[in-house]
């Protein structure tokens, strides 16, 4: 069998989805990831497809353990996302979803940086349609902000690649030492896409404004491609450890007070990517394995959580914690699946987060980063608090909002059920996942100590929530938004422009009036002297000139004799 690049299957699938309707499109779309996975299973290792572009050869299909793992993961995520969105009759979303998943596959199988850049930009453009498809004014503006930031990341990546090509003559997609403008540009480009602190608001902005099904796709691909690229280019870069620890810590404070439950999930997504970034920064076998396996599990459990909130939004039209509550009565199955996702992200024993997150933490300790370990432990308690308890509690339990709706559509339930099953399978039997990891695995998650300490951490975190709730200390869900780093470009900058432009206009007016006034007075002065009575237009006799010539000649004679 000839081996096709995985992205091509998805792009062709998107084309077919564009021209088909009804059950035929449904069948086609479900077939795409299945056919892709079959193709993937038949791929040998190595650089399999190269295309010449000017004097560079582009490697479109590099297959190794790491790209294969992300390849399988993205096929799985695409299948779940497609299944979850089957009830839609929206060609935009179906086509954009397939193109987006295909672009993510293109990026992880890229053999050099130019191909990576091409798919990096395709990721940005195709995913923006999943936000635009909400078809509200808010979503449109959010999508534009999202697109601007994503394209900026792409431009920085390309600039960095070109600078490096000029300096070293190489476009290799491999380990890069962090010195020189080229390396830093690439580093920051990856940083924007993996939502580093202060560069993160595109994520909380767009993922909360996307369509109910769109955010399921969004949560799976963009940040994981960025983590993959970081693991390829900058493993063992110390700076990443501190960036990652900050990412794991700060979003949980925002998540606790955020009212929009999908934005809570977006903050928690940054927090989970923080663990992966720490793992990449540590760069040890255990750290990289932890980062990659946690990326795998995160795509599934975060996808599951976004699915459950998407189902709530789809059925009730509401997503704010302050407006929801008591939905377990109407949506018992969605509630159950959401709880499985919540247990997985919180890393309960037997659920998927348990077998991957701890690898990063143990690796941090082994490398002597005690404070980072403490920060990650804090973040682990925090993630249980906001994603594990807050999401299911305020959506499905808490006070009864009085909303009665239908259970989620069957295709949504199937997708959620499948994701939940994978969460439990990976958590209870991690060996399949471990066998796919890029580094040799020498890690045993189910030790008595690990199960006990993690249970203590989680039960006592739950106890803290209960105690705070019963004593009324817990902050209630309130309508409103919280300002974040995006304030600078959504408020400060527009305000500043609004203030500065009139000031410039005024100064400009004064200056123009001054210059014009000056010119006018010069013209008037000249006019005065050139008019009929002016000195320049006076007439005199020819004899006057002759006498002046005489005077000059006489003067010349005098000077000559002296």
């Amino acid at each position: 069998m000839t081996s096709l690049p995985p992205f091509a299957i998805f792009y062709v699938g998107a084309l077919l989805a564009l021209v088909t309707r009804g059950w035929l499109r449904t069948a086609l779309m479900l077939m795409v990831p299945v056919a892709g996975a079959v193709n993937l299973a038949g791929l040998p290792s190595g650089d399999l497809l190269s295309v010449a572009l000017f004097d560079q050869s582009l490697q479109l299909l590099r297959v190794d353990k790491m790209s294969l793992l992300f390849g399988y993961l993205f096929h799985l995520a695409a299948f779940l996302g497609i299944l979850f969105s089957l009830h839609l009759r929206d060609t935009t979303q179906h086509v954009a979803g397939l193109l987006y998943a295909g672009s993510a596959l293109g990026a992880v199988f890229a053999g050099e940086m130019i191909t990576l850049f091409l798919f990096w930009e395709m990721l940005a453009v195709t995913s923006a349609f999943l936000v635009l498809a909400r078809r509200t004014d808010r979503a449109r503006r959010s999508a534009m902000r999202y697109l601007l930031i994503q394209v900026l990341s792409g431009v920085m990546l390309l600039a960095g690649v070109l600078v490096r090509l000029n300096d070293t003559g190489s476009i290799a997609f491999d380990t890069i030492a962090l010195h020189g403008a080229g390396a830093w540009l690439i580093f920051l480009a990856l940083g924007i896409k993996s939502a580093w602190p202060l560069l993160h608001n595109w994520l909380t902005d767009a993922y909360a404004e996307a369509t109910p099904t769109g955010s399921v796709f969004l949560s799976a691909f963009t940040t994981k491609v960025a983590v993959f690229a970081l693991a390829r280019c900058f493993p063992g870069t110390d700076l990443l450890i501190y960036i990652g620890a900050t990412m794991a810590m700060f979003p949980i404070f925002f998540a606790v007070i955020e009212n929009d439950l999908r934005r809570v999930l977006a903050y928690s997504l940054i927090n989970q990517v923080g663990f992966m970034v720490v793992g990449v920064g540590l760069g040890t076998d255990l750290g990289i394995n932890g980062a990659v396996s946690h990326a795998f599990n995160d795509v599934i459990f975060k996808g599951l959580l976004f699915m459950s909130m998407g189902a709530v939004l789809y059925r009730t039209g509401k997503i704010n914690g302050s407006e929801l509550g008591g939905l377990y009565k109407s949506m018992p199955m969605t509630t159950t699946f959401c709880i499985v996702g919540a247990a997985s992200i919180s890393a309960f024993p037997l659920f998927s987060g348990f077998v991957s997150k701890s690898m990063v933490m143990v690796s941090a300790l082994e490398e002597g980063h005690d404070w980072v370990w403490l920060a990650l432990l804090f973040a682990s308690a925090g993630v249980f608090h906001h994603a594990g308890i807050k999401i299911p509690f305020f959506a499905f339990f808490a006070h009864d909002s009085g909303i009665r709706c239908q259970e989620a559509p069957r295709n949504m339930l199937l997708a959620m059920g499948l994701a939940a099953a994978i969460c439990i399978f990976n958590g209870s039997y991690p060996w399949v996942l471990y066998s796919l990891l890029p580094m040799p695995v020498d890690y045993e998650p189910y030790t008595a100590a690990h199960v006990l300490t993690q249970s203590q951490l989680l039960f006592f975190s739950a106890l803290a929530f209960t105690a705070l709730k019963l004593t009324g200390l817990y902050p209630p869900e309130l309508p409103g938004i919280n300002i974040d780093a995006e304030w600078t470009y959504r408020r400060l900058l527009p305000r500043a422009v609004r203030e500065i432009v009139p000031a410039i206009a005024t100064a400009d007016g004064v200056w123009r009036r001054g210059v014009l006034g000056g010119l006018n007075s010069i013209v008037e002065f000249l006019q005065g002297h050139a008019s009929e009575l002016g000195v320049l237009s006076r007439t005199s006799h020819a004899g006057t000139m002759v006498s002046w010539v005489l005077v000059v000649l006489a003067g010349y004679l005098v000077i000559y004799f002296l």
Partner: protein, 89 residues
């Protein structure tokens, strides 16, 4: 969007409408806490870090972390919170 008719009385009594069941959940959590805490006596834990050797370290750290998290976040709200249409005007 489907039917979202708010009707508090749908005639059915659900599991957590009964305060006894809510109390049961809280008791179960309390028991789980006590059991895992006591197990610290019984199970000889492998320790990666000296702080972990402290008795009940993860339990205490988890509890304190969450309390600190919530109380700090509550204070942050005073600084950060704005109206829902803050960016729209």
């Amino acid at each position: 969007m489907q039917e979202t008719t708010p009707h508090p009385e749908d005639g059915k009594r659900h599991v957590f409408d009964n305060p006894r069941n809510v109390r049961l959940v809280i008791y179960a959590l309390g028991i789980a806490c006590v059991v895992t805490f006591v197990l610290d006596f019984v199970i000889h834990r492998h320790v990666d870090h000296p702080w972990e050797a402290l008795f009940g370290f993860h339990a205490i750290y988890g509890f304190c972390a969450c309390v600190v998290l919530v109380l700090v976040a509550k204070e942050l709200r005073k600084v950060l919170m704005r109206g829902e249409d803050y960016y729209d005007d």
